[in-house]
């Protein structure tokens, strides 16, 4: 139905009316001729007016109904419709800079051996509150620490050759209906098949999502538990060391070791002062997190680093619990699977719109 264009920009959205307009406006402000790309928005059964809002800007709007299926599923539906030889995926709560997409395209054009490029987060979040600023800076910190290696070929912004995307089996929509981990798994799969993925720290986006303490705790828990359960911590650590789960857990294992040593030693110490023992553990943990705090202080000042230090410890604690829960579930229950009805539909091969989720390579 549409004329072929070099680039297809795909934006999955679910209940994203708060940020979608800014996201799409930023894409349209890219330093690219409008005829050179198509803009596809895939609405994942939103309960708000995301689809109608998307229609103000997009060339194509896909409405997925019946059930919420996740960003991986939505991106795959967008990719199936895309006409471009290159696919760009931009989160509905991410704002690209005018040069982000053109430079990504340019990198693919200049380096035939390069298959995908992923962007990274700016230092400053779009939402002004402390939790959003902390989370955005933490993501930025991890990406800076592991610049140039593979990344998350999905969030917040990534570009990939269409043929590579299809031949790699697209995103795993079977397991990843939540937690934004499909990009990590996909990057891992690309690397396993010898594809080249580059994670750029220069090509940045602004995260627009407003995080509060509850949503951030939920995000960290989901990501940690799902990563450990579905992907395996060690397996993916080698592929995507810049992910925020690894950023959080980098100091967690040594901190846990310190805790064990202090607790063991305390059993032989004459003093019954538990507060002193706890203080020792706390100081040890803070010392192990010093690189992150130093980074926070360098970018946003010492007061900011001091204020977010307890928040960082809380996220590490949730991260540790989530990883443990994921490991236990992996051994006790197995990998994550969709609900029984979805599996039954998939097994029978029912032809229906929206299609039944399918796993890559299955």
């Amino acid at each position: 139905m549409r004329s072929s264009r070099p680039l297809s920009v795909i934006v999955p959205v679910r209940d994203g009316s708060a940020t979608l307009a800014r996201t799409l406006t930023a894409i349209l402000a890219s330093e690219l001729p409008r005829d050179d790309y198509e803009l596809i928005v895939v609405d994942d059964a939103s309960s708000d007016s995301s689809a109608e809002l998307a229609a103000r800007y997009a060339d194509t709007v896909v409405r997925l109904t019946m059930r919420k299926s996740g960003a991986a599923y939505a991106r795959n539906r967008g990719a199936e419709l895309a006409q471009g030889e290159v696919l760009a995926f931009v989160d509905a709560d991410a704002m690209v800079r005018p040069h982000t997409l053109p430079r990504m395209l340019q990198m693919l054009a200049e380096q035939p051996g390069l298959d995908a490029v992923s962007g990274s987060h700016e230092q400053t979040a779009g939402a002004p509150n402390l939790v959003s600023q902390y989370w955005n800076l933490l993501l930025h910190f991890g990406e800076q620490m592991q610049a140039g290696t593979s990344g998350n070929v999905a969030s917040p912004c990534a570009i990939i050759r269409r043929q590579v995307f299809l031949s790699a089996g697209m995103y795993d929509e079977w397991r990843f209906a939540t937690a934004r981990l499909e990009g990590i798994e996909f990057a891992h799969r690309l690397e396993d098949s010898g594809r080249n993925v580059f994670s750029s720290t220069d090509l940045t986006i602004t995260g627009l999502k407003h995080w509060n303490l509850r949503s951030l705790c939920s995000e960290v828990w989901d990501r940690s538990a799902l990563l450990a359960r579905s992907l395996g911590y060690q397996r993916t650590r080698a592929a995507v060391p810049s992910d925020v789960v690894f950023t959080l857990s980098r100091a967690l294992a040594p901190a846990f070791a310190v805790l064990c040593v202090v607790a063991f030693s305390a059993a032989f110490l004459p003093t019954p002062d538990t507060a002193a023992k706890a203080a020792i553990v706390l100081l040890g943990t803070i010392a192990l997190n010093f690189p992150a705090y130093r980074f926070f202080a360098k970018i946003r000042g010492i007061p900011f680093a001091i204020v977010v230090a307890p928040l960082h410890l809380l996220m590490q604690a949730i991260n540790g619990l989530g990883l443990c829960a994921g490991w236990v579930l992996r051994d006790a229950v197995g990998d994550r699977e969709p609900d029984a009805a979805t599996q039954a539909y998939a097994e029978v091969g029912v032809e229906i719109w929206p299609p039944v989720p399918r796993a890559s390579g299955r």
Binding site: R2, R56, W353
Partner: protein, 163 residues
């Protein structure tokens, strides 16, 4: 702002037979599927399904095409028809969204017989037109085109202007 105020959906051949419903190919397909009944859709008040149709299981996605004609945009019926033929096929629901009523709506309608026309008040912005039309179309996959970008047909006759 309530974008729906003052808009009107004009069915096919409204000048001659305003009550005639539209025997769409999508309807025929749905009937063949056995998932939707034609009578149910006629009862909806529009000549094609609305948003509530989207909750019904289908084998394939329903496709809609929205053509946006901004205010004072000059469009010949031939060009519109050619453009729709180039972008659509028989299984596509077509809605032409106009800001203001074209001076010769009948000729435009005759040139694109299967299309629905959404007439918004003059002065409605292009973005608002797109959003309004999106609320009306039943498609799972909705393509939005600017009337100004439709391919030019060979003969530009009977130029129309929305007012």
């Amino acid at each position: 702002m309530d974008l729906s105020q003052g808009i009107a959906m004009v069915p096919v051949s409204a000048e001659t037979s305003p009550t005639v419903d539209r025997p769409t190919q999508a309807q025929a397909f749905a009937d063949a599927m056995g998932t939707e009944r034609a009578d149910d859709r006629r009862a909806s008040g529009l000549s094609f399904g609305r948003a509530n149709d989207r909750g019904v299981p289908r084998r394939t996605p329903r496709v809609s095409l929205i053509v946006v004609l901004p205010e004072n945009h000059v469009m010949s019926p031939d060009r519109l028809a050619e453009g729709l033929r180039a972008h659509g096929n028989q299984d596509v629901d077509v809605v032409v969204a106009c800001a203001g009523q074209p001076t010769n709506l009948g000729a435009l309608q005759r040139s694109v017989g299967d299309a629905q026309f959404l007439l918004a008040p003059a002065g409605t912005s292009t973005e608002d037109l797109r959003e309004l039309a999106m609320r009306q179309v039943p498609g799972d996959i909705v393509t939005l085109l600017s009337g100004a970008l439709l391919p030019t047909a060979g003969a530009d006759t009977s130029l129309l202007m929305t007012s």
